[in-house]
Symmetry: none
Subunit: 209 residues, 2 copies
Amino acid sequence: MRKGKRVIKKIEEKIKRQVTFAKRKKSLIKKAYELSVLCDVHLGLIIFSHSNRLYDFCSNSTSMENLIMRYQKEKEGQTTAEHSFHSDQCSDCVKTKESMMREIENLKLNLQLYDGHGLNLLTYDELLSFELHLESSLQHARARKQQQQQTDQKLKGKEKGQGSSWEQLMWQAERQMMTCQRQKDPAPANEGGVPFLRWGTTHRRSSPP
Amino acid sequence: MRKGKRVIKKIEEKIKRQVTFAKRKKSLIKKAYELSVLCDVHLGLIIFSHSNRLYDFCSNSTSMENLIMRYQKEKEGQTTAEHSFHSDQCSDCVKTKESMMREIENLKLNLQLYDGHGLNLLTYDELLSFELHLESSLQHARARKQQQQQTDQKLKGKEKGQGSSWEQLMWQAERQMMTCQRQKDPAPANEGGVPFLRWGTTHRRSSPP
DNA sequence: AGAGCTATATATAATGC
DNA sequence: TGCATTATATATAGCTC
């Protein structure tokens, strides 16, 4: 039975504090879950108990790593470089990190070209190459689209046939190969966090139709 | 006035969803704050709205970066700890490196799409979006090519005119804008390592012709 | 968007087991 | 520890402004 208003101040009695922590943590995670589902938003919650135990929650269709990356991307844009504070501890790590940052920068610049940004930094010849490259990309994409369209139609036609059609098997095998090829890293970091597709929707086909 | 139990399912009406998001987000952050104070624990909350806006909360006496580092350290401990040989001296650096590696992976996957690799992981709708995106890219590139062609011709014609032509000035201004826009980060990450243009030559125009 | 209002639904502090 | 109970305090959906 609650009496009086709750004063938000550290609970000094250890037992009470632990009990309250367990209860409130549970409902906080529940609330986070509800918000993520009701409003279809991505969110992550990280809690370290007083005994340093980790509790976390992350909305479906994303991963904490993904959220962290997006968070850092946001913050990066807001503040200027503030990585200086954890640099003096291990300079070799920092160096490697710097080279990785450069690589990320370069990759991003390359991706930006496809959005039409930075084209003015290219020579005429490079623009020509780029144009040819784009035409080739377009061909690939269209070919794949057509292929998939046909596959989908065939599948639809055979929907009530045998349990697993040739196309389905091929599709699965193909996907498995790609997945295997793309995920040398055993870490399940990509389980829900597919690469962010900047030019459109963010979800990839997760199973054959 | 609430009637009946809340069913936790995505709210389809956009307006309702937004209102609920605003209200629940507010109280979720409040609850997070209360838990952190009452129980004196460290916690972080990251929320991305449907419009991709970031809202976050982090308990006092720590920072989100710190929490993220601790989180990643925990998670790493849960999976096979095979990076221990990397450098146990600065494991927090390793964590950050891991997230960077993942980002690099993602960026590379996105770039590979333009080479026609991984298209089979896209849904039909995504392929459509991608196709449209490529067409737009192509338009941009062609427009820029034409623009540069004209500029080059004019410059050639006026080569012996006044020291700085209008086009040159405009080009310089444009380039300066782009450079400025692209390098919020004051770090000279691009000093020597120009982005590697995978689809052709590797050098970019470094000065107006 | 955001601020109040109101009737319910939930959360939760204290207690006992 | 954890679980159930219970009396209150909060949260919140729908509404108006």
